[in-house]
């Protein structure tokens, strides 16, 4: 009796590349020739198991119990590059190429939150100059 060859099925763990700035267009979007809505899922709730040590320290320093305003911060994109929106400066802050982004939105969001805090609290933030120039009281 011929032996059956048991074929080993190799599962390749392909890491799909994240394409920022690419999303499926709805019929309405095709018709009007532009995208509608936010550049990320604004309703995505944070996964607290992914919180970074920096964010833990930040939340503790502020006296809060959770991510508070950072729950609304997500990794988006600007001109095809990963970016985070800074509401204080009303602009997108692009993520430096040196930072490798994980293939998971929750992890990317935590990185976006950390970078945004660092950006906003930096003495190089554009609002610092504006504050110096225009602060009234």
């Amino acid at each position: 009796m011929a032996k059956k060859k048991s074929k080993k099925v190799k599962t390749k763990s392909k890491a799909t590349k994240v394409k920022f700035g690419v999303k499926k267009q709805s019929a309405r979007e095709k018709m009007i020739g532009q995208s509608i809505g936010y550049r990320y899922d604004v309703n995505l709730l944070p996964d607290y198991t992914k919180i970074t040590p920096f964010l833990k320290k930040y939340v503790e320093a502020m006296g809060w119990d959770d991510l508070n305003w950072l729950e609304d911060v997500h990794m988006g994109y600007e001109e095809g590059k990963p970016a985070v929106f800074c509401r204080n400066a009303n602009g997108w802050v692009t993520i430096p190429k040196s930072i490798k982004l994980p293939n998971n939105q929750q992890d990317r969001d935590m990185i976006a939150r950390e970078l945004l805090v660092k950006f906003q609290m930096s003495p190089k933030h554009p609002l610092v100059d504006l504050k110096k120039a225009y602060l009234k009281f």
Binding site: Q34, L45, A61, D66, W69, S98, M121, P123
Partner: protein, 284 residues
């Protein structure tokens, strides 16, 4: 600040030396350094200590005087301030852009705690219209009831009312979380653009009318749905988050969140034309 490009053709103003650049976008790159030193506070804010506590009696003060005195106390490093005798004054505690533990022993009038960014506030009484309007970050807890337009246009943070609230709660909100332990009036979540509203009790008519995005969770009955507000499936992730948030809010920790209704935008009102891209970019 923004992405600037030098213009090839000089306008009259440019040739006069009034300016040499034109604004072409909103991307910011050159200011950002991921290796920035750990700093948790805005530049120029006060370094306060939560353990340094003081009382402030505002009975004989006007609202601007009281607000200036709060600022003065923060500049002295006080991180916990107890406000005595607020007596329903309007616009108390506005514009605090600092971490702070602020406690009001009494009720506030209109526009209390407006335009704040960072403080943790407890109000041991009621609040009038538009409490915590434009809240950017922080936590505001109201022990009793609140008036209309509760949390109007908030952009972040947690706004909690342990009692009931009036009409138009979370009108035009652009982020953050509003949590109501009791009931809410008509037009709750009217024109909300993002963020989350949790109501453990009943809600009035036209819930989520003309909402653009965001999520509303309701524990009780709904008077009626507003235009473009539709039901959505309550996921496991939603339930976990709700349990966590209700614990943080100190209300309804034992509330059965699995029976809550989730309401989102139907997105039927997303009708834009090619005249609006610039306007839309500013809103996103």
């Amino acid at each position: 600040m923004a992405n600037l490009k030098t213009s090839e053709k000089k306008s009259k103003a440019q040739s006069m030396g009034m300016h040499t650049e034109v604004l072409t976008g909103r991307t910011q790159q050159k200011f950002f350094n991921p290796d920035e030193a750990e700093n948790f506070y805005y530049f120029g804010t006060y370094d306060v200590d939560f353990n340094k506590r003081t009382d402030l009696d505002v009975k004989e003060m006007s609202a601007p005087e009281a607000n200036k005195e709060i600022d003065n106390l923060m500049s002295q490093g006080y991180g916990t301030i107890v406000i005595k005798n607020p007596q329903g004054k309007h616009s108390l505690g506005v514009g605090i852009l600092n971490k702070l533990n602020l406690i009001f022993e009494g009720s506030l009038g209109y526009f209390g705690m407006g335009s704040c960014d960072g403080p943790t506030v407890r109000i041991n009484g009621r609040v009038g219209w538009s409490c915590a309007e434009n809240l950017m970050a922080g936590k505001v807890v109201i022990e009793k009831n609140a008036g209309s337009c509760f949390g109007a246009a908030i952009r972040g943070g947690d706004l909690i009312c342990k009692g009931s609230v009036g009409a138009r709660t979370g009108i035009d909100m652009k982020g953050g979380t509003i949590i109501i332990g009791g009931d809410a009036g008509a037009f709750t979540g009217f024109m909300m653009q993002r963020g989350r509203i949790i109501i453990l009790g009943d809600v009035g008519i036209n819930l989520g009318d003309s909402m653009y995005d965001g999520t509303i969770f309701i524990g009780g009955s709904i008077g009626s749905y507003g235009s473009d507000a539709v039901d959505a499936e309550l996921t496991k992730s939603d339930q976990d988050w709700l349990k966590r948030k209700l614990k943080v809010a100190e209300i309804g920790e034992n509330f059965d969140v699995s029976k809550m209704k989730k309401i989102v935008a139907g997105k039927k009102l997303w009708n834009y034309d090619n005249l609006e891209p610039t306007e839309k970019k500013g809103a996103i």
